[in-house]
């Protein structure tokens, strides 16, 4: 399972970078979306995929009876998804506003602030 996911993550990263290197700002945002999803998936897989129960301790015991799944990557991914979602929604609004004001979808025409 892990090699398969690793390949999928690699493809996602490649696609994200390809999209970000395009000139259109809409494609830039799509690239950012793919990028954050690739990162989230990578965190999820990083600690290894184990088949196990939820990390709950029954009453009266000190430790869970059987093997448990590592809950921490899931918690991290949950946080990262929420953050990525917030930031991406900002980016989408930004792109829309930028288009309204600059009237260009082409990054090459956004040169006013360059040196």
């Amino acid at each position: 399972m892990e090699p398969l996911l690793a390949v999928a993550i690699g493809i996602l990263f490649a696609a994200a970078i390809y999209m970000m290197l395009r000139r259109s700002i809409v494609k830039l945002v799509i690239g950012l979306m793919l990028l954050s999803n690739a990162a989230n998936l990578l965190i999820f897989v990083s600690a290894g995929l184990t088949r196990g129960g939820p990390p709950l301790v029954p009453q009266g015991l000190d430790a869970p009876p059987a093997a448990v799944a590592d809950p921490l990557p899931q918690a991290l991914v949950l946080t990262a998804i929420v953050i990525a979602f917030g930031v991406l929604s900002f980016a989408v609004v930004l792109v829309r506003r930028a288009w309204e004001i600059v009237r260009a979808d082409d990054l090459d025409r956004m040169r006013d602030t360059d040196t």
Partner: protein, 505 residues
Amino acid sequence: MNLQLALPILIPLLAGAVSLLFWRSRLMQRMIAVAGTGLLLVASVWLLASVSRGGILVLQVGNWPAPFGISLVADLLGAIMVVLTGIIGFAVALYSLATTGRGHEAYGYFPLMHLLLAGVAGAFLTGDIFNLYVWFEVMLVASFALLILGSEKAQMEGAIKYVTLNLLSSVIFLVAVGLLYGMVGTLNMADIARRLASLEDTGMVDVLAMMFMVAFGIKAAAFPLFFWLPASYHTPPVAVSALFAGLLTKVGVYALFRVFTLIFHHSPGYTHEILLWGAGLTMLSGVLGAAAQFEFRRILSFHIVSQIGYMILGLALFTPLAILGGVFYIAHHILVKTNLFLVSGIVHRLQGSYRLKRLGGLYRSHPWLAVLFLIPALSLAGMPPLSGFFAKFIVIRAGIEAEAYGVTAIALLVGLLTLYSMIKIWSEVFWKTAPDGDEADAQAAVGQRELWLMSLPAVGLALCTLLIGLNAGPLYALAEASAGELLAPERYIEAVLGPRGEGGP
């Protein structure tokens, strides 16, 4: 419980929440802004006082013992940075009373400012690497929104570059955290440091070190990765520029200092060689960019880049004196750079432009403003007896002692070029005669009270610079103690994890 450790984070969060409640009341938001940042300053000074007296303070949030819960840690570096956050926050809050338009305040300028300060303080105080990412994001989201307040064309273009590159760096940071967790199975920085020390697989550690270097290098605007900064920092309202210029890149520098002294210090030759080259090129490219510019805030933005090089140089040399110099430089730079942006805002208010060609004659009409500019400007260039002289002197002396002559020569040259571009601003803005005759009209448009409010924070920061310059002893001692702590990470690890190396206090 060390509640005082949580105060610098809680106060701005709370102030932000309360000023959100007063969304429609401009007066209340302003009062909360001044009171909140003032309280933050007091709390941070208190924190620094306790840390310098009693050593590293640790708060295990929610009473979860160290490697499992999130720890808040204040060592001297963190505490110094939080105090600077408090100073800059307070100064900028006062300054924004005079400069922020009604439109900006109606769209949540002050709540965002509080949130930004909370994010910065949180990043300085957290002892958990994933938590560091979260605070980075809090800070970034607030800064994104502050950057586009006003929706001008240049702001949009600058924001797209700023947002993209900072998101990219966040993703690299996040991936590195994920891989690091997969390798050592912990997120507590002290615990990571302890476990990495006993790890044989150094190849992967080097890869991770490089990923962190790239991620924080983008945030700190180090050499090949700085282009977003001069493209965006001159676009927002000047109070926002000043806040960004003082704090945001320095969070990246702080993270570099933290990660490369605590976690990745086992094979310093490799990573610190790259940092050394990066530092030299950062200094050079920043100052050359500044020399080519003819817009007040754009020159200052490029100078942020060149100064970041000095701080990274301090880290890269990795001797006690160099780290001391790096910490000293950060402290000095935050005060000076914010002050320069504040002065540029006053100039803009008086003459209505940031373009050097359109400015002039201010020495004749406002000699005090010229002095107010000269103090931080000469300090930035490293003239004695101002704070920048000692900062540069320590770093350069450390470079000579470490026999890194090439980089030291660059550092000296960059000091000279900095002086050149500061003289350029001085002669264009203050010395030459004003380009057209409507100077008197512009002056009349600025109220006395407004001018006072704008000058007051600038005067305060200039006094800080003078104070450090004339009496460098206390800050030197603090930076020295902080360098001692950074170079002996065992103390940090022991403070967080307890003397046995496992379990909380």
